[in-house]
Symmetry: C2
DNA sequence: TATAAAATTATATTGATTATAAAATTATAA
DNA sequence: TTATAATTTTATAATCAATATAATTTTATA
């Protein structure tokens, strides 16, 4: 799991506005807030989870906006899909190469640091995307299970 | 990509009948044929592709049977899901640890040999499943593209 | 301020998968 | 072999996340 204690940078709305602009995405309150949630909370949420989270603060938001925005972010390549779920999309605004582990107990998705990966037989192939996804139980759920 | 020239064993229907039986699965013509297609053809098909393939030989088969059977095979852990597709399940009857590459040109899914994978930060976690999935272009599609 | 362009909403649609109930098949015991 | 129960298969309906569409609202800019 990625170390959390080295205090990840928190993005301000201004940071995000600049970042979206650099990627040819016009800003709006919803777009800023959706990206802010993805980049600062890092829970790898589904579209539905983002919608529910933002609805508290912005009650007028509609699910369509969340879906549209996420699709736009994917097209512009500022978010990536997390494949731990079969029936739902999960999103990650961190683009560096890392893996994911979904805890089947609590449902949380953890980031994984990949120290080394060596594949063979890929000569002549061109690679665009790599996904490493695990399923298992986190230490807390394991402890809870064994009480 | 996995070497194909070392002639993978082809499973007979009797082999499969035994294998299903060992895993507490009663055999039927459909179950045998579905597993046979998965294990001998190794194209990592979707349920729909399996249905279309078998319908030629067994015209009475219904899609429900394919879905039911695949769900049963998953439960009994004799097939695994391939995560290269977001909207459709793909299935693999080869259970050894290997990755997959989906060619975005021709749609084929290739097996990958993983020489080495080292993750850190997983102390205290219990892992049940690992998936490594790439997207890219195969040599043939790259060549075709550059003509 | 007017006009065009873009974003958002509400709603309907899609499509793979799952659920359900009836019918067909298979297994087992008398 | 026959009767009965259990399982498998089929046909059909339901589910539900995601997408498409068209109307409305907001934003940009001349």
């Amino acid at each position: 799991m990625e170390k959390q204690d080295k205090k990840p940078k928190r993005w301000s709305l201004e940071d995000i506005r600049d970042y979206l602009s650099q990627h040819d995405i016009r800003s709006s309150v919803y777009r800023l807030k959706i990206f802010e949630y993805l980049i600062n909370d890092r829970t790898h949420p589904t579209a539905e989870e983002i919608y529910k989270h933002l609805k508290k603060e912005l009650p007028a938001i509609s699910p369509g906006t969340v879906y549209n925005t996420l699709r736009l972010f994917l097209e512009k390549k500022i978010v990536q899909l997390v494949n731990v779920e079969k029936n739902q999309f999960r999103f990650d605004a961190t683009l560096s190469w890392h893996g994911h582990l979904k805890c089947l107990g609590c449902g949380r998705v953890f980031d994984l640091h990949i120290e080394n990966l060596k594949l063979s037989g890929l000569e002549g192939f061109e690679i665009f995307e790599k996904h490493l996804d695990l399923k298992g139980l986190c230490p807390e759920c394991l402890k809870r299970k064994n009480i």
